[in-house]
Amino acid sequence: MAQPKNPEKHCTYLPPESEKKSTKAMHDTPMLDQLVDGPWPSFVTGLKRLAMDNNMMVDLLGQLEHSYNTRLGYWKGGTVSVFGYGGGIIPRFTELMDDDGKPMFPEAKEFHTVRIQPPAGNFYSTDMLRQLSNSWNKYGSGLIAFHGQTGNIMFIGTTSDNTQHFFDEVNEYGYDLGGAGPCVRTAMSCVGAARCEQSCANEMKVHRLLVNNFIDDMHRPALPYKFKFKVSGCPNDCMNSIQRSDMAVIGTWRDDMKVDQDEVKAYIASKSRQYVIDNVISRCPTNALSLSDDDTLSVDNRNCVRCMHCINVMTKALSPGDDHGVTILMGGKRTLKIGDTMGTVIVPFMKLESDEDYDTLKEIAENTIDFWAENALEHERCGEMIDRIGLVNFLEGIEIDVDPNMVTHPRISSYVRMDTWDEEVDKWKQRKAAG
């Protein structure tokens, strides 16, 4: 790698030994040292810089090196929280003891993480980033992960006492703990309306409305298991909400998508007709696009499934319609325990404009969490409960009517008792009549 222009302002910089403030000698870390070089910024260099500053990181490096040698982890959990809350801290105590039962790396024997909710959309001013960093440098190791997989700012490494001091300080300037344990978790939302033309929702508003409505359920874990909200502004689902959240709110539109025919022509002129046929027209999953001989594009909007592909390719010529709303899916999660589940459509479309619309969204979330809290087994995610009791029982529990958009296709199995068929048909007719 080329020599940095200014080595003191470079990610590879390590201060000279004379500037070492930590009093404990560094451990030898031959394994970790092999992760110092290479073009990607090295977390090991970062840890070493922090170890020049505090003894906790000196010993943290010692324990991590030990893990690299033995290929085992050495942290155990525990119970640590702040006054008034029950969760939000990930306690870590070292399990690495010497022959006398004393910690091998005593300065890092307590190494807790404080989960703090970032501003919706992960927006920061540099002043705020520096302020958060200063607070953590005062009470913790200095190491911060932007961000953990649930979406929290992870302030990694402090003692039990200092979790409270740190929380008190950041809480005074507007930051609150996130979730840990069986509770409503920190949510995530995309950049959305702030900088994306594909946004069909006010993602930050939905995000904050949902999470802040359940703040008690976040801070005092008492639910069957975790419950996650994620908000994406369009079906590109940059927040991975269908697979990774219990309740996914995704922006969409129900009128016609917008086509700027001049821009279509300009795009064809710049990329070629064949490129557009091969990469746009023939990639439409429902064959809803047709390119005419005069290079105008027609869209069968009734059969467009709002997949976003053509809009992603032709960002200038094509865009979502104006009649925005959201689709809600519930029950996404990875393997443990019943196998992987994607979220299922629960609300195919709802408007989010008026205060009443947002109240309705809140009610759907409240009904869902209430029903799940009542009916789930211990450690059972919402999607697993739906799998166990059946979608229809879940829908009845949260008072939402069945809709053909909820299924890929109707049932295949004839093993079902249907003696109330006529009543169900009447309900369908009444719903249709009510519009």
């Binding site: 982890g73 911060i144 932007f146 990694i156 609150d176 946004s199 697979q243």
Partner: protein, 359 residues
């Protein structure tokens, strides 16, 4: 006599409003953007309906940041941009400027400080990952180290846009898969049942909930050496490690037998195809710090087959669906074994019930 300090009551403000930290051009044009393009790898250019324009430089970080890095990056953002930053879901920083002439100096400043500019469009972007040995209580491997080692190799793919479509890679240190699914996911896969320390189970574990946690009902209460403990039916055990978090004396991690498995074709977006789960392609890969060479080689093999064979805009999963799994194994030269055939509930739907065979 000093009175004991009264504990401070928290202010339950919840999630802070992002608006207060937003670039003014974002605020002004909130919900009113017109289109975007990418003038070069690592740069997004958005145009608002008002005519306002904004250029956003995306820069890769090591995710774990200390005060030195934060101040270094913030100094660059203050000196060369407008003092605002956001983080993407994959730990990249996005820094916006409203003056096009500031873009190149900003990129130069990040590059001079050793931070790669890229991760946009059809690049291999930053790997989404977990905590690993650094902080997790149940990790089978490290996270940051695997990612550092892979991103060193993928640096050129991060700073350019040469893939058929975007590539999202994830790593996870246990089968819970906190890293999430990806076009390529590298996850721990245990291959031996837990080793139980029967002296500790009674005190450390709530036995009925551990029994309930097992996906295949392989755990049952038992008296061992006169102490209440748990036993595992090792013929039934699938070595998933689900019992380990609620019962640490059931150690699942093993330096030899905790292997890595690689999964391919996960996609969260609804673009073209519906979202899809990643599928197993390789397993039995040794867990080898500090550089995880064996896993890295397989990832590079898969990426090079995808890069050579996929059409523009095909995500890894789209590509495999078009060419079929037999061709995938042929092109990547990975072995297909009996373990690739699913046998979990719903497995029947993963079998080929047709004569659709490619020759």
């Amino acid at each position: 006599m000093s009175e004991k300090a009264k504990p401070r009551t928290p202010i339950e403000t919840g999630c802070p409003d992002g608006m207060q930290y937003m670039h003014p051009v974002y605020l002004k044009n909130f919900g009113n953007w017109k289109y975007h393009d990418r003038p070069r790898p690592g740069v997004l250019h958005h145009v608002a309906k008002s005519g306002d324009e904004v250029w956003t430089v995306r820069v890769g970080t090591q995710r774990q940041l200390g005060p030195y890095e934060i101040n270094l990056l913030c100094d660059i953002i203050d000196n060369y941009a407008d003092g605002y930053v956001r983080f993407t879901i994959r730990s990249n920083m996005e820094v916006s400027v409203t003056d096009e002439s500031k873009v190149e100096p900003l990129i130069q400043a990040f590059t001079d400080a050793g931070y790669p500019v890229g991760g946009t469009g059809n690049s291999v972007t930053m790997i989404s990952h977990t905590q690993g040995w650094l902080h997790c209580d149940i990790p089978g491997t490290d996270a940051s180290g695997v990612v550092k080692s892979l991103m060193d190799e993928l640096h050129d793919e991060f700073i350019s846009e040469q893939m058929p479509n975007r590539v999202h890679i994830t790593t996870s240190c246990c089968q819970i898969n906190c890293g999430g699914q990806g076009d390529i996911a590298i996850n721990i896969q245990h291959t031996k049942p837990p080793k139980i320390n029967h002296d500790l189970v009674a005190n450390a574990c709530e036995r009925p909930s551990v029994v309930a946690r097992c996906p295949v009902a392989a755990i049952r209460p038992a008296m061992v050496n006169g102490k209440p403990s748990l036993e595992v039916d090792e013929k039934k055990c699938i070595c998933c490690g689900a019992c380990f978090p609620p019962c640490p004396p059931m150690q699942i991690n093993d330096p030899e037998h905790s292997k890595l498995a690689i999964w391919v074709g996960g996609k969260n977006s609804n673009a073209r195809s519906k979202p899809m789960f990643h599928k197993l392609v390789a397993a039995g890969i040794p867990n080898t710090p500090p550089r995880w060479t064996e896993a890295k080689e397989i990832v590079m093999q898969i990426l090079s087959a995808y890069k050579a064979d996929a059409c523009d805009w095909e995500r890894m999963g789209d590509w495999v669906e078009r060419i079929g799994w037999p061709r995938f194994f042929e092109l990547t030269e990975l072995p297909f074994t009996k373990f690739h055939v699913d046998n979990w509930r719903g497995a029947r739907h993963t079998l080929n019930a047709s004569t659709h065979i490619r020759f």
